[in-house]
Amino acid sequence: MADTAHTAPDRPDGLKGIASDWASDQRAFKTASWGKSMMWIFLLSDTFVFGCFLLSYMTARMSTTVPWPNSSEVFALHMFGADIPLILIAIMTFVLISSSGTMAMAVNFAYRRNRRMTVILMLFTALMGATFVGMQAFEWTKLIQEGVRPWGNPWGAAQFGSSFFMITGFHGTHVTIGVIFLLIVARKVWRGDYDRGERGFFTSRRGDYEQVEIMGLYWHFVDLVWVFIFAFFYLW
């Protein structure tokens, strides 16, 4: 690929920059590589998927005349002799945010060619992701035992169960896939694949340490989606 001048000194910023970058006869994303651009575009499409889930949840909740179950009580845990509202969800939120923090630092160490720290931080990220999924499995088990089903529950509107399983299930699937890919990329970093520019199994293109940043984009997106689920499903 020809160098498409990331650093041309006369490139304008702002609106003019957008127009000139998109109008140019080469590539629109001057500083983002092929892999990074494609990950961003995938994440954009995933935004629409999650957006539509949350939107259908909103529609179900707004259009039912049956009271919506109080999530603060539904997701309370009995700890230390009292019911603490939403405590498991709060812990899950902190775990996922922490995993985003370690991922961001893993990307940083990857660009510094510090393979050891990169692998350690990525494994921590994967561990926290797996912890998150484990807590979600615990939460599902608890709710199923209490009688929540996609078609009904003991506390109110039947759509609560269908929205809950659909939204958290799809998010949990994303976290699980993320953990698997974290382990795959961590192994490649550990072996030094990115120092030698080995070809990847997925695209057969030569990998470099930007792969860690692209992996990070996916992981932060999973955290980002949780921010919206936490706000709209659990707190609203």
Binding site: G14, D21, S63, A231
Partner: protein, 125 residues
Amino acid sequence: MSSSSAHAHETQPGEAAVAGHGDGQQHPIRLYLLVWGWLFVLSACSYMVDYIHLEGLLRWGLILLFMVLKAGLIMAVFMHMIWERAALSWAIILPPIAVLVFVAIMVIESDHTVFTRMTFFSGGG
């Protein structure tokens, strides 16, 4: 996005020789720790909204405020969006506005549905 030049090219001495995009996006670890800390504080704040039983507009407003701040921090710093060029950021940020339009349509639709349910079904649906 005009702040990009200030941070985007901080590389350690001796590492600048690596060709291509392999040496991109180096920012101080301190910045990530700072954002991490703020995300913790904002999450704790949004949890407190529920814990102290705020109601009505104040509750919804605070939930949305903390949500937007958290999402903004994650996208801007963790996902490096403030250091990307505007052509990429806008291409990613603008299309989800279509979702907001969809939300507005479905709010109207839901109001209509709940109105007909209350009018024509005695027990609601």
